[in-house]
């Protein structure tokens, strides 16, 4: 099986793509990521700006029309959404593997 070379995504990139399933500008992305992560991931503007630039170049997100000319609005692309799904499956698999081999669970089954 050929794996997507963009995988695995970093936690930051995963959250940004997830935030862009609906159109958003920079600050809305920051707010969505912070709330989705329960406050654990706080994006600083310099880091977000660089990440958006990279995702645009990788064609994972695209610019859409913005009501505010001073704030660009982005949306996930078809290929970005596919990559996101593939990474979610990759992580779901990891979680399944972890649950199968968890020591306390094995112990629980053997008793």
């Amino acid at each position: 099986m050929n794996r997507n070379p963009q995988l695995p995504l970093t936690e930051t990139v995963f959250y940004i793509l997830l935030a862009l399933i609906e159109p958003a500008h920079g600050y809305v992305i920051m707010a969505r990521v912070e709330s989705m992560s329960g406050g654990a991931v706080r994006l600083a503007p310099g880091t977000l700006y660089g990440a958006l630039d990279t995702l645009l170049k990788q064609n994972m997100i695209a610019r859409v029309t913005s009501p505010d000319p001073r704030r660009k609005v982005y949306l996930i692309t078809e290929s970005g959404y596919q990559t996101l799904g593939q990474d979610a499956e990759r992580m779901a698999h990891l979680v399944r593997m972890f649950n199968q081999t968890r020591p306390d669970q094995t112990r629980g089954e053997s008793e």
Partner: protein, 207 residues
């Protein structure tokens, strides 16, 4: 207040600007000649980014993003180069980067800026090199720079007059190329130093 200073290392520049802010001086213009305006001592945290030249709308978007996140743009132009931001939140450890990897990318962008300046300069220098070689002779031997026949055999006033007459032409013919070559060398050294800083920052980011 105005201070003349030069930095390549963003961390050192930030440290100095924060030291100034701690003493109540907020940077309002930067890059070689730094201009400051008074603020309550210690009320601001300064951070530095580097960006390539941007279209007006891109620069607006860039500054809006930082403003929305609580960072006031202090200095820097859309023509590219360093961008200076201040946070007045009172939190001393705030940063414009939340990951060290993205913080290291500042240096990569700075290297790209310097390279973009060096490339045309280097091309011109190489293109003109063959022309200069004939006109200048040996760049390291000043006597070759003067083309007046028998100049160095003349004496007294006759020599002084001919020497003084030709010197402005020599300054143009030799000074121009020497300046271009020196500029190329300075920029090469700058790129080398920026590369060292970039690698150091990446190493720090990776643990």
């Amino acid at each position: 207040m105005r201070i003349f200073k030069m930095f390549v290392d963003f961390d050192k520049e930030e440290a100095w600007l924060n030291e100034m802010a701690g003493r109540g001086q907020l940077v309002t213009r930067a890059g070689l000649l730094y201009t400051f305006a008074p603020i309550p001592p210690g009320s601001a945290v300064i951070r530095v980014d580097h960006q390539p030249s941007m279209k007006a709308e891109d620069f607006d978007d860039y500054r809006s993003l930082f403003a929305d996140a609580g960072w006031q743009h202090l200095a820097g132009t859309r023509g590219g180069g360093e961008q200076y931001f201040a946070s007045f939140s009172g939190e001393p450890n705030v940063d414009i980067f939340s990951e060290n990897g993205s913080k290291a990318q500042r240096y990569r962008r700075a290297i790209a800026t310097t390279s973009a300046l060096l490339l045309p300069l280097f091309t011109i220098t190489v293109a003109l090199w063959s022309v200069w070689r004939e006109g200048i002779g040996n760049l390291l031997s000043p006597r070759d720079w003067y083309l007046t026949p028998g100049l160095w055999q003349r004496e007294g006033w006759e020599f002084a007059r001919a020497f003084a007459f030709e010197t402005p032409f020599v300054a143009l013919r030799v000074g121009g190329p020497a300046f271009l070559i020196a500029s190329c060398l300075v920029m090469l050294a700058l790129i080398a130093y920026q590369s060292v800083l970039y690698r150091r920052a990446v190493a720090r980011a990776n643990g």
